[in-house]
Structures are given as structure tokens and as C-alpha cells.
């Protein structure tokens, strides 16, 4: 899988967020909708399903005038974030774009974790630091902005928790009434952010798929911009910016592998579209030509897409009652499942389903080497990358990027009782002497030492820090 790489190009100057935003809705190259299943073209409108086969629609672009261009002239002067890539997004006003943009996330080499797992060029795209702690801030930004452009009086979503907070955030920014429909049983830590941001939470007595169905019915009764129902074609475009930003941070040199969590399959599908569009534009440098292979990862207990990948029929069999610690991936009936399947196969990638134990172990490995606490969706991706390395699917020198899509504080209980994975808190009197001996800090000094090898992609690392 390894390919020879040219030295990373000098970092692009990225202006700080406080700079003047220069966006124009007319700059968007969105021109139509097309069916992701049968390819039927549809005029630009607020519709979600194909007239021919009822498959999901996606945004189509007329990139003609941009093909063969360089990215720098297009992007120069724009702040980093979702709306930086506005040619490849639906059109909204500059004011809406500036108001809703959640900003960029960091990409950095995971040198210590990579050393532990036998990967010399492992990178992590850390979406945990976005405003509501997950990548859902990206699609929510685009969809809620579109809801304002399309005149919806209210917004909402069906959610396993992350999208609820992300939608509520943009709704608060744009003063939209907001309702979020969730399955019962989500932890408070997933619901409280949405409530604090002003959303009304509707708990459905059932699974996420039941919440989804209710959202469909609500969209029939009321004119409400449900971001992943009535605005879904635009919503998924926001997710695409995750890979566009990653590519730019890597100097437009596509990595060998990208690990993506699979819930509905929308993020992985959007990742494939982003890669394809960057390739079509001619923005990708490097010898790989934009040929990243995609690793799709679902946790055991909810694996309809992974099962289909490994089945002879390729048919997706919905999972009626998902049972997984990765509740953000507990989508039994994945709306973009077939598109994701094609994207994985088309990229010569792989689909994998790690166990809960492997997911927990990966979460702790990351936390204790790279200082990032992720929720199980990120742990699922990391566990699959580790497995792929152990099975020899990844070479030591492959450049691998893991999409870490959500923060660990949202799901504090998934690791099990702290007694199983952490030392218990010491309870001591204020004047206790000899505390350092009690703590045994000298025994753990090795944990704080530098990795034995420098990052192999030190030039690229400097570029990322410039971001």
C-alpha cells in the first residue's frame, strides 16, 4: 500500500478566525441533486428521495470551470472551517456561513500510539474539540444554514445524541426553535448539552430507527427543517468537509488509508465524495493520486454494513435491536449503507467490526499515549486500524488517518466501572506527608518520556501545527 512520497509542500497561510470572511453564495458550484443509487438527476430543490427509485439524493456540482485549478487561489483569505470549501457546498449567504461555522479541527501525528501499534505514519483527526464535541457540528452547520435560506420556521433532527447538541448549537445561533428526537436510554451527558443549548428533547420509546421514523412523520405534519430527514442531501455535504480539511492539512496529499466510523454510512460516503471531488478538481498532489483506501468500522452488536461487505449477496440486513457500547453508531437501518458499501469497495478498502473489549482498549491506548479521550465511535475506528495492522492489511510505513468523531466525556460510562481500568482515588488528610511515595510517581516516569523515534513525517507535522 505504501507509495513514495514527495516532501510535504510549504504550509498554506491560514488566516485566523477573526479575519474578514469573504464568502459569496454565488461561489458555490452546487447545481442539482442526483440519486446516489441510480444516478437520476433532479433539479435543485429541497427534496430528499429520488423520484425514480426513492434512493437518497446528494448534491451535484458543476465543477467545470474549476477543474485543473490549484486550491490555493480558491481558498486563500478564507478562515479555516467548514465554509472554507464553499465551492463544494450548498449555497448560503456569507453572513450565515460566518455565523454557523464551527471552525476547523486539528490533525496531528499520533507518534506514540503508532509506535505502540507498529504504525510509523499514524495520524488522528481530532473532532472532539469542535464546539459540541463531535464532527456533527459540520453537517449541522450546513443544514441549519440551509434551513434559514429555505425559510423553515424551526429545525430539529433524529439523533443518537451528538447531532442533537450540534443542531441545537446552530439553532441557538440562528434563533430557531429546535426539537431533537432521540431513542430512550441515552446517557444524560448526551442530552444535557442539547438542552443547555435550548432544544426540546423528545425521547421515543424505541431505537434510533424508531426515532427516525417518528421524525419522518413529524416532517409530514409540520414544516420543520429536520436536518437529517428533510434536509439530508445538504446535511451530508457538511460531513464532507472533514476529509477536505484533512487533505488540505496534509498538503493535498491523500493518505494511504482513512479510518471512518460507520453508523448510517453517511460520513464514509461523504468522505468518498470529498476525495473524488478533490481528485476531479486536480487538487490532490502526491503519487497516490487521491487513492485513499477507506476502512469502514462498525462495533459488534450493530454491523449491518460490515456484514453486507463480507456477505456473498452484498445485501444489507437491518439490525432490529442494536446492542453496542457505541450508541452513536447504533443505527440498525443505515440510510447510506449501500453508498458506503460501494465507497469501501471502490477504494479497495476494508470493513471491520471490533469487539467492545477492543474498542475500550483502543480508547484507553489513545488516551494514555496521545492525551485524547474519545467516545466509542473513535475507539471503534482505532480498534479496526489496530486489527488491520495486526492482520497485515496495513504496512508499517502506510500513512493512516483515523477520524476521531466524538469526545469521550459524552459517554463516560462505556469503559465500565473505573475500578476496572483506573487506580482508585486516594483519600488523604490535607497534611499528609509522604504523598509522593503513596502515589508511586517515580514508577511511572517512563510514561512521560518522549517516543523513541521522531515522527517520520516531521515536515508535515510542522504544517499541521501551522494550522
Amino acid at each position: 500500500m505504501t507509495k513514495p512520497r514527495a516532501p510535504p509542500s510549504p504550509p498554506s497561510p491560514i488566516e485566523p478566525r477573526t479575519s474578514q470572511v469573504r464568502l459569496a453564495s454565488s461561489t458555490s458550484r452546487a447545481s442539482h441533486l442526483l440519486c446516489s443509487e441510480c444516478g437520476t438527476l433532479h433539479p435543485w430543490s429541497a427534496r430528499t428521495a429520488c423520484d425514480h427509485c426513492f434512493g437518497p439524493l446528494q448534491v451535484g456540482y458543476d465543477l467545470g470551470g474549476l477543474v485543473g485549478s490549484r486550491p490555493e487561489p480558491q481558498l486563500q483569505g478564507r478562515p479555516a472551517g467548514v465554509w472554507r470549501y464553499l465551492e463544494l457546498l450548498p449555497p448560503v449567504s456569507p453572513a450565515l456561513a460566518a455565523r454557523t461555522d464551527p471552525g476547523p479541527s486539528r490533525l496531528r501525528p499520533a507518534t506514540a500510539l503508532g509506535e505502540a501499534w507498529g504504525l510509523d505514519d499514524l495520524w488522528i483527526k481530532d473532532e472532539t474539540a469542535l464546539p459540541t464535541g463531535s464532527f456533527k457540528d459540520r453537517p449541522a452547520s450546513v443544514a441549519v444554514a440551509l434551513a434559514r435560506e429555505l425559510g423553515y420556521p424551526a429545525v430539529g433532527c433524529a439523533s443518537t445524541g451528538n447531532l442533537a447538541a450540534a443542531t441545537a448549537r446552530v439553532a441557538a445561533l440562528l434563533r430557531f426553535p429546535c426539537a431533537v428526537i432521540v431513542p430512550t436510554g441515552l446517557p444524560e451527558s448526551k442530552l444535557l448539552p442539547a438542552q443547555a443549548l435550548g432544544a426540546r428533547v423528545v425521547e421515543v420509546d424505541g431505537t434510533y430507527d424508531d426515532a427516525n421514523r417518528l421524525a419522518n412523520l413529524l416532517a409530514e405534519e409540520e414544516r420543520i427543517g429536520l436536518v437529517n430527514v428533510s434536509l439530508r442531501p445538504f446535511y451530508t455535504e457538511g460531513s464532507k468537509t472533514l476529509v477536505l480539511e484533512t487533505l488540505e492539512q496534509l498538503g493535498w496529499d491523500a493518505p494511504d488509508w482513512i479510518g471512518v466510523p460507520l453508523g448510517s454510512g453517511a460520513l464514509l460516503s461523504a468522505t468518498a465524495r470529498g476525495l473524488a471531488q478533490a481528485r476531479e478538481l486536480g487538487w490532490l498532489d502526491g503519487s497516490g493520486g487521491g487513492a485513499s483506501a477507506l476502512i469502514g468500522s462498525q462495533p459488534q452488536g450493530c454491523t449491518p454494513i460490515v456484514d453486507a461487505f463480507h456477505s456473498s449477496s452484498g445485501e444489507i440486513q437491518p439490525v432490529r435491536s442494536p446492542d453496542t457500547i457505541a450508541e452513536s453508531l447504533a443505527i440498525g437501518d443505515p440510510a447510506s449503507g449501500y453508498e458506503a458499501l460501494r465507497a469501501i469497495r471502490g477504494s479497495h478498502g476494508w470493513a471491520d467490526a471490533p469487539t467492545s473489549a477492543e474498542v475500550r482498549e483502543a480508547i484507553l491506548d489513545l488516551a494514555r499515549t496521545e492525551g485524547i479521550w474519545v467516545e466509542p465511535a473513535g475507539g471503534t475506528v482505532l480498534a479496526s486500524i489496530r486489527r488491520a495492522r495486526q492482520e497485515g492489511r496495513l504496512d508499517r510505513s502506510d500513512r493512516v488517518v483515523a477520524f476521531l468523531t466524538g469526545a469521550g466525556w459524552k459517554t463516560p460510562r462505556v469503559l465500565g466501572p473505573p475500578s476496572a481500568w483506573a487506580l482508585p482515588p486516594l483519600r488523604v488528610a490535607p497534611k499528609t506527608r509522604g504523598l509522593s511515595k503513596l502515589l508511586g510517581l517515580t514508577a511511572t516516569d517512563a510514561r512521560f518520556s518522549e517516543p523513541s523515534r521522531p515522527p517520520p513525517s516531521a515536515g508535515a507535522a510542522r504544517e499541521v501545527r501551522a494550522w
Partner: protein
């Protein structure tokens, strides 16, 4: 009386109607589609079925239960059932 509902994205197959009262009926979903075809036109079955099976992106619920878990086209439809046709393109 069996009551059949189509969400807006699927109304092109129901002649633009959001609700159709089928009248007295008892049988299975395949039989119901045949009756609906008589009321709306043969295109209904042609649009909702693909190679004799429900299309991938059409979800059907009989009394709130997803028919993919209850036998698909052989799902029983009782005399007072409510049947919903909803596109499967939401979520995530």
C-alpha cells in the same frame, strides 16, 4: 377498514394522495398492494417493487411494525390495519 398512508416523497405512486382507505380487506401485504394497484393504477406496484421485492428504499410499516422483520410481502394485514409507506433515506 384498512388505512394506507404515503409520505410526500412517495405520493407520486399514490396518485398524489396522502391517504387511501382500502375498505374491507384481510390478507397479506402483497395482496394489499394488488388492491391498491386496482385503485391507483398498475404503476403503483411497478414503482414500489423491484424484481418482485419491496424496493430497498421504501420502508413499510403495518400497525407500526417494520415489515422487514415480519415477512416482507407476506406480512399479515388485518381488517383494521394502518399501513405507512415511508422512504428510507433519513438519519445518520
Amino acid at each position: 377498514m384498512v388505512s394506507v398512508h404515503f409520505t410526500s416523497a412517495l405520493r407520486q405512486v399514490s396518485g398524489g394522495r396522502s391517504e387511501i382507505d382500502v375498505g374491507p380487506f384481510q390478507g397479506d401485504l402483497a395482496g394489499l398492494l394488488a388492491v391498491l394497484g386496482e385503485k391507483v393504477g398498475p404503476s403503483l406496484g411497478q414503482r414500489l417493487l423491484d424484481d418482485g421485492r419491496l424496493r430497498r428504499f421504501v420502508n413499510v410499516y403495518v400497525d407500526g411494525q417494520d415489515v422487514r422483520y415480519s415477512g416482507g410481502l407476506t406480512t399479515p394485514v388485518g381488517p383494521s390495519a394502518t399501513v405507512d409507506f415511508i422512504p428510507a433515506v433519513a438519519g445518520g
